[in-house]
């Protein structure tokens, strides 16, 4: 695979984490403009861990997850009783505070003769773990997609579990859910922490892919984009947000289609798409249709081959 | 005066009205009874132009109004006092009355009518600068009626005006209905309080599960049966 393709694919995989993060909160009924904050926290935490503290990558990513989850839970405690635009703005306010905080944050140490660490608005460079440990971009891409596959599998399993139903119920009609004995605020708190963890993981991966991050990578644009990916790809399944990222970064940014007019084309496409499908391409109806089709196909196959391995008798 | 024929209205795929036909005669009080979920409110909203019927015709003085906007229907002299009153909570009593006259352009006539409403509902005059959301339930009901009257309707639709009110206030509401009718306003009334409603109605209909199932004049004999059906639905009443 050529380098460009590898870097684009890795990027798609990583941005999918923050898109999934916004998606999880959407399922819980909350719109967040601020998931980029936890992405940033994950990036800085994991970067500090490997580049400054010389931790191994796996541990650094765990730190990113932990920091993202804890920060999201803390913010959630203060804001989750808000709903709608109030919550969205509170998360955005927090994210912007974090971004400006990183612009003011400088902490550098001497590593092998040069200063390494976050340096205010100039960002945080020399996160060279992959290079130092001779991990190739292609190998790293596999790591990214391995983790993404685990996350997607977990989300799909969750969706079918009692937990997933509780989550969607709390999101769709909090008053009714409350009447049915669901502690909506607590469900949302767990969802917010999980979303923070996802964003933190993505952030850690992001810092190591780019080797260099700066506060302005984590502005409101990233936040609203992550939200938009879910709505473009569809809210019916966890594949939706990933599809959204794929369409934006994969199809439009990377292919040089519409060069110079990309945003005009993309913006118009999204606006028209949303009119036709307000809950995205893979909305609940589409997912239901696909899964019943797939089941039909599967049953047909199973019927034709009576000795089918899944049909033990 | 108002003629509804074969009207069907749906929420998404679920039909709440499955072919409703009824009429309200000029100068009369017509009452619609029925159990919860029968589709009474749906019918009211359909007539008022808030919901669009899938099919059927709604005529006001012979003219088709099905499919017109609610604004056009108000202009033609039909006003609805909705279920749950729906006053403008953040606006004062006076502003609510002004809003009721939204379709009218005669400033002098509007001011006169506001004075007339205050005379009819003295409580509203006392509280004219108070926000409507802070009025008591009974006061809000008075305001909702007064607001509807501000459009000078020829026919007034009322959806459960006694809902959630104390018996004394309910009496007051029904005496207002009677006096409005004496002043020449045609009234089409939805009620759960069948006893009170049948006391004032000239004609009534019974609606169940999206259909009109009974129609008649209030008379002593049928009343108990009707009340039972209106509260409990057909099945349990006949069981």
């Amino acid at each position: 695979m050529d380098d460009y393709l590898v870097s684009v694919l890795s990027n798609i995989g990583i941005i999918s984490f923050v898109a999934l993060s916004a998606y999880v909160l959407l399922l819980a009924g909350e719109v967040s403009f601020g998931q980029q904050a936890f992405f940033a926290l994950g990036a800085y935490a994991a970067g500090i861990a490997t580049a400054m503290l010389r931790w191994p990558l796996a541990l650094a990513l765990c730190l990113g997850v932990l920091v993202g989850a804890l920060a999201a839970a803390a913010v959630g405690r203060a804001t989750l009783r808000l709903s709608g635009l109030y919550f969205a703005m509170a998360t955005l306010a927090f994210a912007e505070m974090m971004r400006i905080g990183f612009e003011l944050f400088t902490w550098q140490v001497d590593v092998g003769g040069s200063l390494v660490g976050p340096n205010g608005p100039d960002g945080f460079g020399d996160i060279r773990y992959l290079f130092e440990n001779e991990i190739t971009p292609a190998q790293y891409m596999l790591v990214v997609y391995g983790l993404l596959a685990v996350v997607l599998a977990a989300l799909l399993v969750l969706d079918r579990s009692r937990w997933g139903r509780v989550l969607r119920q709390a999101g769709a009609d909090p008053v009714l859910a409350e009447l049915q004995g669901i502690r909506v605020v607590r469900v949302r708190l767990v969802a917010a922490a999980a979303a923070g963890a996802l964003a933190g993981l993505g952030g850690g991966l992001y810092a190591h892919l780019l080797t260099y991050v700066e506060p302005r990578n984590f502005d409101i644009m990233l936040g609203v984009h992550s939200l938009a990916y879910g709505l473009i790809g569809g809210l019916g399944t966890a594949f939706g947000p990933v599809l959204g990222v794929l369409i934006d970064i994969g199809l439009l940014e990377s292919s040089r289609l519409f060069q110079g007019y990309r945003m005009i084309a993309f913006g118009g496409l999204v606006a028209v798409l949303l009119i036709a499908r307000p809950r995205g391409l893979l909305d609940e109806r589409a997912v239901h249709w696909i899964s019943s089709r797939a089941k039909g196909l599967f049953d047909a196959l199973a019927a034709r081959r009576l000795d089918h391995p899944f049909r033990r008798r | 005066m108002l003629q509804v024929s074969d009207v069907e209205t749906a929420y998404g795929k679920i039909k709440a009205l499955k072919g409703v036909s009824l009429s309200a005669a000029k100068g009369r009080i017509t009452c619609l009874l029925g159990p919860n979920g029968a589709g009474k409110t749906t019918l009211m909203y359909t007539i008022a132009g808030i919901l669009r019927p899938l099919r059927g015709s709604i005529r006001l003085d012979g003219q088709e109004i099905a499919g017109l906007t609610s604004a056009a229907i108000v202009s033609r002299g039909l006003a609805l006092v909705p279920e749950n009153r729906l006053v403008f909570p953040q606006m004062s009593v006076k502003e609510n009355l002004e809003a009721g006259a939204y379709r009218r352009k005669d400033a002098a006539g509007i001011a006169e009518d506001i004075a007339r409403m205050y005379a009819r509902f003295p409580r509203l005059q006392e509280r004219r600068e108070q926000l409507a959301g802070t009025l008591s339930g009974g006061e809000q009901q008075m305001l909702a009626v007064a607001r509807a009257l501000m459009s000078r309707p020829r026919i007034l639709l009322m959806d459960e005006p006694s809902l959630g009110l104390a018996p004394m206030i309910v009496e007051e509401v029904f005496s207002i209905i009677k006096s409005l009718n004496r002043d020449g306003v045609t009234i089409f009334l939805v009620e759960q309080n069948a006893h009170m409603a049948l006391g004032v109605a000239h004609h009534f209909y019974l609606m169940e599960q999206g259909r009109v199932t009974f129609s008649g004049e209030p008379g002593k004999l049928a009343e108990d049966e009707v009340i039972q059906r209106a509260y409990l639905g057909t099945r349990r009443a006949s069981a």
Partner: protein, 299 residues
């Protein structure tokens, strides 16, 4: 002490333009219950039209002002048709994301029209600041305050003395009830949307004329400042928007003087966060939200 007073005065003058931004925002949110993220970019489109004509045709500052307001309204019409009109009740998030998509469009269109990042914008007034005792007042800021106050007063008159204004107020208060009394909803919503964009355009003109320059970043800037001011004051409340705008101006002026521009922004967001966490309805909206909930519980 003198500095604090001077900062407050400066803050009120700058805040008057924030108040206009928030006023437009709140009219849209109040009537539609929808967040128009493309609000700032719409204003930026108007400002770009103005500056484009200014650079190409060398027209005076007043025609530029008219062009900015008209351009913002036309761009607003595009946004309304594409992002708001087609969505029924309930698709609030789709509408919002759609307006974000259009934001991207407008931003790119602006940089295609005027490829320089920074573009000159005509000043409204120029001259020496007026000094009164130890205080001084920039002329352009005085003009900003005067125009903004006049515009706010005009909006007040429109809202309280015209039928259209009555319709807008009923829609802000209770949409279904507005329909019942015969307010032509779609029509009134569209007009309110255009009015809001025109108010925003005026605010944008005042700000760009005071800075004497405009960049494509202005769209995001106007959306965020308008949002913060609107939320501090209380969502969907007209007096709240004006108070919120003035409060934001004063807070920023003091913070900038004390700590510099970066911390100023940090404090502005921090104040918003604190207001939301402590008084969820905003400074003026709090009581109203509580009342509204009480009303909803009663019915």
């Amino acid at each position: 002490m003198i500095d604090i007073i001077q900062n407050t005065v400066d803050g009120v003058m700058i805040g008057s333009s924030y108040a206009l931004l928030a006023l437009g925002f709140t009219l849209i949110f109040g009537t539609m219950r929808r967040l128009n993220l493309a609000y700032g970019p719409t204003i930026m489109a108007g400002a770009y039209l103005g500056t484009y004509a200014f650079l190409a045709l060398d027209i005076g500052v007043l025609p530029v002002a008219l062009l900015v307001v008209a351009g913002a309204a036309v761009a607003g019409l595009y946004v309304e048709r594409l992002c708001f009109r087609p969505f029924g009740e309930g698709a609030a998030i789709a509408s919002m994301i759609s307006s974000f998509a259009v934001w991207m469009q407008i931003e790119e269109a602006a940089s295609l029209a005027l490829p320089h990042h920074l573009n000159a914008f005509p000043r409204l007034v120029s001259g020496q600041p007026i000094t009164v005792g130890p205080f001084f007042f920039r002329l352009d800021h005085l003009a900003m305050l005067a125009v903004a106050a006049a515009a706010a007063a005009l909006v007040h008159v429109v809202l309280h003395r015209t039928r259209f204004g009555l319709g807008v107020r009923t829609l802000i208060d209770h949409r279904r009830a507005a329909e019942l009394v015969g307010v032509p909803v779609t029509h009134t919503l569209t007009l309110a949307f255009l009015l809001a964009c025109a108010i925003g355009g005026l605010a944008g003109f005042l700000i760009a004329a005071s800075e004497a320059q405009i960049t494509p970043m202005f769209g995001m800037w106007a959306t965020t400042k308008g949002l913060i001011a609107m939320m501090i004051g209380g969502l969907g409340s007209v007096p709240g928007a004006i108070m919120g705008g003035l409060a934001l101006g004063v807070i920023e002026a003091q913070a900038q003087w004390l700590f510099g521009p970066q911390v100023r922004d940090l404090i502005a967001w921090g104040v918003l966060f604190a207001v939301l966490a402590l008084w969820p309805g905003g400074l003026l909206g709090g009581r109203q939200v509580a009342e509204q909930q009480a009303v909803q519980r009663r019915v």
